[in-house]
């Protein structure tokens, strides 16, 4: 056999092995984290964990029910703020792509995506906590909502832009006004893709801790008043993890397991939504 051909074959096999190895390496942290969470967290997971308030310091027992509810409330608030602004903003960006406003907004969104989340917390702190003079669920929701906007906006823009011009033209040529074409034809065509983007964004902000530290603040009790501090899973995990009590450490792991499961569920739903997107290319 030709010697150069042999060398080429050997190189090919080597590179294939290296890339395969790297793929395994990428998966390792995820598998390790999940395994570790399951091993340490499962032992503290029980009915009480989902139904009880945190116990007194140092005493075993108690749960994180308020923190789970708090996280759901915070995420709902964030979604209420981030989704409408993100979707409508993204729609504008795709339809009026080359205006000065669009270019500025797009750049700003990309910068916002890279801003450390604690700065988002500062933003909500200055905007809401300082004037109100106390921490609140609202401030936490705003911090997360503002973080959600750029993700949702950019995904919406990308997907809406993929909707073929011919679909818009078909609607316009039927004598359907532009706003209705957008609302009833273009957005539904892009809907599943937009939902996917929303879910990925929501899954991301659901686990954020830093922006909540000085906005939602955390709360050891039930709270349904949006203007008062509220508990959240990430804060609770942090508080328990740095405590000196073994039982709380175990509960912190359990909380992390619940949080990761929530995020995983949302991501799976996002994949499902993505599969339902009509082909745009």
């Amino acid at each position: 056999m030709d010697r150069r051909y042999q060398v080429r074959r050997a190189t090919n096999a080597l590179m294939a092995a290296v890339t395969f190895g790297c793929t395994l390496l990428v998966l390792t942290p995820l598998v390790v984290i999940l395994a570790f969470l399951a091993r340490t967290g499962l032992s503290a997971l029980n009915g009480d964990f989902f139904t009880q308030l945190p116990g007194a310091a140092g005493e075993p027992g108690g749960g994180m029910a308020n923190a789970i509810a708090g996280t759901l409330i915070l995420v709902a608030l964030a979604a209420g703020i981030g989704i409408p602004i993100g979707v409508l903003g993204g729609t504008y960006l795709s339809e009026f792509a080359s205006t000065r406003v669009s270019r500025t907004a797009r750049f700003t969104a990309d910068v916002m995506n890279g801003i450390p989340s604690i700065v988002m917390g500062l933003f909500a702190y200055v905007l809401i906590v300082l004037p109100m003079r106390h921490f609140s669920a609202l401030a936490g929701g705003v911090a997360l909502g503002v973080m959600l906007i750029p993700t949702v906006m950019r995904t919406t823009e990308e997907i809406v832009r993929l909707v073929p011009q011919s679909v818009r033209e078909a609607a316009l040529a039927l004598g359907i006004p532009q706003w209705k074409t957008m609302l009833r034809v273009v957005l539904p065509t892009a809907a599943a893709g937009i939902v996917t983007g929303i879910m990925v964004g929501v899954a991301r902000v659901a686990g954020e801790t830093a922006p909540l530290l000085f906005t939602a603040f955390g709360n050891r009790f039930w709270n349904r008043d949006l203007l008062q501090p509220i508990a959240a899973l990430p804060i609770q995990i942090f508080a328990y993890a740095i405590s000196p009590f073994d039982d709380w450490h175990r509960q912190a792991w359990a909380g992390a397991l619940v949080l990761v499961t929530l995020v995983l569920l949302v991501n799976i739903m996002a994949r499902y939504a993505a599969g339902r997107q009509v082909k745009l290319r």
């Binding site: 073929p164 609607a171 040529a173 039927l174 034809v185 009509v278």
Partner: protein, 262 residues
């Protein structure tokens, strides 16, 4: 089978273009087109690529202006109405002048039924019975009814290319337009589907004015009664199809139809 159009197309109109110019930014795409398109006939527009034939068609229902930087000058009369007149709503003009595109473009999220009903439904018609009647009428008019009547809830995109194009014709007819514009409606279709579309165009012309753009001269000869030949944004010659093809009055027309360029 005779397509059933009663009740769908209640009136039709001719079109008169007077010194129509069109631009894309600085590109002068149409240079003074004047032509009278008679009602209840198929008028074909032929010419080589880039001659402005599609642009002219899109001026007739105010679709041209959707392209950023596009402009139109001159007068186009739809019946008595100047469609570029002050205060004329392009949305109203587009309802009166329907359009079928080169590539079939059914709405990808909608069923066959919803596609055919889209124009009326999105304009606010909520009465289920009315929608059902119109959908059946328009699908019959587009000679598609028998093929799809048992699967109206299937996606419009599940149909074959030729069927999709007829669905698009049905969708355009469902809003009772006065004129139907067809922009190379068969250029993406196989010969059998092409023939069906041509047959359909000829048939529909008993009730409605049709303007068809085509790069296919045989197609123009088969479907149209009048043909206009466009070249470099100008209307070189316009007249009865058989005369234009057998005794062209202009040298350039003759060169084009005998295949010397294009």
């Amino acid at each position: 089978m005779e397509p059933q159009k009663a009740g769908l197309i209640d009136r039709t109109t001719g079109i008169q273009a007077e010194d129509v110019h069109a631009w894309f930014d600085r590109l002068h795409a149409l240079r003074g087109i004047s032509m009278t398109i008679p009602e209840r006939k198929v008028t074909a527009i032929i010419g080589p690529s880039g001659c402005g034939k599609s642009t002219f068609l899109r001026c007739l229902n105010r679709m041209h202006e959707l392209v950023p930087g596009a402009r139109v000058a001159g007068r186009i009369l739809l019946g008595e109405e100047e469609i570029y007149g002050n205060g004329v709503d392009p949305v109203v003009i587009r309802r009166r002048v329907g359009m079928v595109f080169q590539k079939a473009n059914p709405f990808p999220t909608m069923s066959i039924f919803d596609n055919a009903a889209a124009g009326l439904h999105l304009a606010g018609e909520r009465n289920r019975r009315t929608l059902e009647t119109v959908v059946e009428q328009s699908l019959r008019a587009a000679v598609l009814w028998d093929e799809v009547k048992d699967r109206l809830q299937k996606p419009g995109t599940s149909l074959s290319g030729g069927q999709q194009q007829r669905l698009c014709i049905a969708r355009a007819l469902a809003v009772s337009p006065e004129v139907l514009l067809m922009d190379e409606p068969a250029s993406a279709l196989d010969p059998a589907s092409t023939l069906r579309i041509e047959e359909l165009a000829r048939d529909l012309a008993k009730d409605i004015t049709i303007v068809i753009v085509t790069h296919n001269m045989q197609q123009a000869a088969r479907v149209s009664e009048l043909t206009g030949f466009f070249l470099d944004g100008e209307l070189i010659e316009f007249g009865p199809t058989n005369e234009l093809f057998t005794r062209p009055g202009d040298r350039r027309t003759e060169d084009y139809i005998t295949g010397r360029f294009g």
